[in-house]
């Protein structure tokens, strides 16, 4: 089920209503059923994949807790192989098959490998990583194994965040799912603000950027250089608004049940460096990779050469996590490269001192936005050829008849409202910021959001981009 559908707008109040009507001891059943239904609206048979993930990690967690030495490690390996195996089969097998077929053509040999017709389960990378974090924590002895399979299942399945995060740790979400959350108007109000704002961001910003981006990425050769650059900036906005909108709705839906999910964004386009950007963008994934990949690899306490390799590997892996395509690996690797370049430059002492200046900070902010925007090309492009076409279209003017890029004038209205709100709430979250305002301002905000959603939401609904990861 998508958040920006009528189904969800009916589903959410029903679940919230029932959640507060039933006693806490039975809520896990409600959440389990609701989450399964939420997922099965997409493609019912795939709920079995989630059950497999749950069963593997539940039993591995239990067995691991009391095991020692190699036996303990064995259950961790079983959990990793189980999760990565499922992820690998559904998400990466076709990529590997295609790569092998391409290589066989290149190397002139025959192969019986074929590409299968698999529908990628939505959000598979999210729930496998979330579930994996639990078994790793149990292995490390930092987390007690969950004995109640229902609570553990809800940790993996919790519908507000199951398909696109935030990737929560068991010690945050698991604990909250067990706690009693009595009805509190404040939670409903805060959740409502977030859901409303999230819908506005997704439907009025992301979905209005999508047609601009799609038109240019489909036929970059037909557009002027200015149009292509406009589409690149539009994609920067689209991907942010799409994911930020989703995360805000997820946080809001959970908040309505008294559950606090972690913030996944902190205004990443205000970042002044690539390092800063990754502290603000998709925070739950960055911290997952930091805790379970980067630090075990030695983190930054290694020699320079190893550090460079670690960073490049980490970013390329993060890219590959997003999608089974070379474009995603390059997207990640370019971020790694930009990170390392900045790291090197900032080692020069006078530049580091200058960076404290407000004007220089602003320039760094613009520079970071431009670098990130350029690198998004590889994230958005269908394949490497498409990415090359886009870069070519930026550098060289089109030889074909130029198609004007159609942007409706009214798109500016929600866009300016969005920018204004983001500047106003800087370093805060919409519910917290708005919660402290006077009644008139709060209700004016609701009114403006409702009017914007009604008037300016895109007429074609686009699935959340991160759902396919």
């Amino acid at each position: 089920m998508l958040f920006n559908t009528l189904n969800f707008l009916l589903f959410l109040p029903v679940v919230i209503g029932m959640y507060y009507l039933i006693p806490n001891r039975s809520r896990w059943i409600l959440l389990f059923v609701a989450s399964c239904y939420f997922y099965m609206v997409f493609y019912p048979p795939y709920v079995l994949i989630l059950f497999a993930v749950i069963l593997i990690d539940y039993f591995c967690g239990l067995k691991m807790e009391n095991a020692k030495g190699f036996r303990r490690k064995l259950f961790l390996i079983l959990s990793v192989v189980g999760n990565i195996g499922i992820l690998g089969y559904f998400k990466y097998s076709n990529f590997l098959a295609t790569s092998w077929i391409d290589f066989s053509v290149f190397a002139h040999f025959k192969t019986s490998m074929h590409v299968s017709d698999i529908l990628l389960p939505i959000g598979l990378s999210f729930h496998t990583f979330q579930s994996l974090s639990y078994t790793i924590e149990v292995y490390r002895g930092k987390q007690k194994a969950e004995r109640h399979i229902g609570y553990f299942a809800n940790y993996v399945l919790f519908f507000p965040q199951m398909v696109a995060g935030p990737i929560e740790r068991y010690n945050r979400l698991g604990v909250q799912l067990r706690e009693n959350h009595p009805y509190a108007y404040e939670n409903i109000a805060a959740g409502f603000k977030m859901v409303l704002y999230g819908l506005f961001v997704k439907m009025c910003i992301a979905d209005n950027m999508a047609p601009i981006v799609n038109a240019v990425y489909e036929h970059p050769e037909k557009f002027s250089q200015l149009s292509v650059i406009t589409a690149l900036i539009a994609f920067s906005l689209q991907i942010y608004a799409d994911f930020y909108g989703y995360s805000t709705i997820a946080l809001g839906a959970a908040k309505m049940m008294g559950i606090n999910l972690m913030d996944n964004f902190k205004q990443p386009y205000f970042a002044t460096s690539i390092r800063d950007f990754w502290k603000r963008w998709h925070i739950s994934l960055s911290s997952w990779f930091r805790d379970y990949v980067f630090i075990p690899m030695g983190g930054s306490r290694v020699n320079l050469f190893r550090f460079i390799i670690n960073i490049l590997f980490l970013f390329a892996l993060s890219g590959f996590w997003h999608g089974a395509n070379y474009t995603f690996i390059i997207w990640g690797a370019l971020h790694g490269l930009a990170y390392l370049l900045e790291y090197g430059v900032m080692k020069i002492s006078f530049i580091e001192k200058m960076a404290q200046n407000r004007m220089v900070k602003f320039i760094h902010g613009v520079k970071t936005f431009l670098i990130v925007t350029f690198i998004w090309i590889f994230f958005r492009a269908e394949n490497m050829t498409n990415a090359k076409q886009i870069i070519h279209a930026i550098i060289y003017s089109s030889k074909e008849k130029i198609t004007p890029l159609l942007i409706q004038w009214w798109v500016l209205i929600p866009f300016l409202i969005f920018i204004a709100v983001e500047i106003l709430i800087r370093k805060n979250r919409i519910d917290n910021w708005l919660g402290g305002k006077k009644v008139f301002l709060r209700w004016s905000f609701y009114f403006v959001m409702l009017m914007c959603i009604m008037l300016f939401s895109g007429i074609k609904s686009y699935p959340f981009i991160y759902f396919r990861f």
Partner: protein
């Protein structure tokens, strides 16, 4: 708790006020653009046509697709219009639409309109699993929302919140494959294949070395290899609803059952497929004649060579085919057209 109730009530009021205001703004400045953007501009065409025409012809691409060598490029509806003496005919046409769209449009014919008769294209292929589960259904269903008789802002919100059949292509393909495997077909008992999947698979293997013939033959099997189930087929429901709405609006109703390339179906696949095509035709004729609808039977009216597309299954006819169909419609439905 009382205060919470008041706040929820206030939110409800705010929602209603927002809907009311946005409906005014949206209808005035955005609605027409969105009709065009969602490929639903036929509603605007219908609005103007129904004030000046006695007859409206609802059609898809079969109406106006012409052959390369045609000297006369007139559409079927224009050819019918040429034969009318005192009546005028307007055409509503869009590629790849089907009865569900016609139905939604017919609902928009006003009681005070000039229209007295409607001719609705009945395409046999639109009853098959391939068309029913086509990826084109998603944009068609979206456009159909725009035809609904609801306040403009509600239609906009229904589209924005995907309140229509918005399935991904993979799921549509799965459903189609399911129908091909499980839908029974009425064939002689000694016929070795009991469903389209087996039939198609066997012919595919048999003609494996002749790709052109193989693909065309298999296309005929997948297109026409079905027996209409009147209880479950969504097109039957649409046409039934059209009959009901036409009655309510006191409109004379004509279904124009299009010609199919029965000759090629026979030569490529054989008599079993032709038998299925004819069974379906007979079923439709009986079902709707019984309901007081004039069903024009063009099924075998056009020869194989008179189809524009010789290498696929379509209802696009060259000049002679279109003329013959127009003549047949005029003759069969003379009571409403003369």
């Amino acid at each position: 708790m009382k205060q919470t109730g008041i706040k929820f009530a206030a939110l409800g009021v705010l929602l209603v006020v927002s809907l009311f205001l946005s409906n005014i703004i949206y209808s005035k400045w955005f609605y027409k653009d969105d009709l065009i953007e969602t490929d639903a501009k036929m509603l605007l065409e219908l609005d103007s046509l129904q004030n000046v025409n006695d007859i409206i012809y609802f059609a898809e691409s079969s109406n106006a697709t012409t052959g390369y060598y045609d000297t006369c490029k007139k559409s079927i509806s224009e050819l019918i219009a040429d034969q009318l003496k005192n009546k005028s005919l307007g055409t509503i046409q869009h590629a790849a639409i089907h009865a569900k769209t016609y139905l939604e449009l017919i609902k928009n014919i006003r009681p005070d309109s000039k229209v007295k008769t409607i001719i609705v294209t009945m395409n046999l292929r639109s009853f098959d699993a391939d068309w029913i589960n086509s990826k084109l259904e998603t944009p068609l269903m979206r456009a159909n929302v725009m035809y609904a008789q609801l306040p403009a802002i509600i239609k906009k919100l229904m589209i924005s919140f995907s309140a229509y059949d918005d399935k991904v292509e993979y799921l549509r393909n799965k459903e189609r494959a399911h129908h091909w495997k499980h839908d029974p077909i009425i064939v002689p008992e000694n016929f070795p294949y009991k469903n389209v999947k087996d039939w198609d698979g066997a012919i595919f293997s048999k003609l494996f070395d002749q790709p052109k013939t193989r693909d065309l033959t298999c296309a005929y099997i997948k297109t026409y290899g079905f027996s209409i189930d009147t209880l479950t087929n969504p097109r039957i429901k649409d046409f039934d609803e059209i009959v009901k709405v036409a009655k309510e609006k006191n409109l004379h109703l004509v279904f124009n059952l299009l010609a199919e390339n029965v000759q090629y179906a026979d030569s490529l696949v054989g008599k079993e497929l032709v038998s299925l095509i004819k069974q379906n035709r007979d079923l439709l004729m009986q079902r709707y004649n019984k309901n007081g609808v004039i069903v024009v039977d063009n099924l075998e009216l056009v020869n194989g060579k008179e189809f524009c597309d010789q290498d696929w299954t379509t209802e696009h006819y060259v000049q002679s085919g279109r003329i013959r169909i127009a003549g047949n419609v005029f003759a069969t439905a003379a009571v409403y057209l003369k």
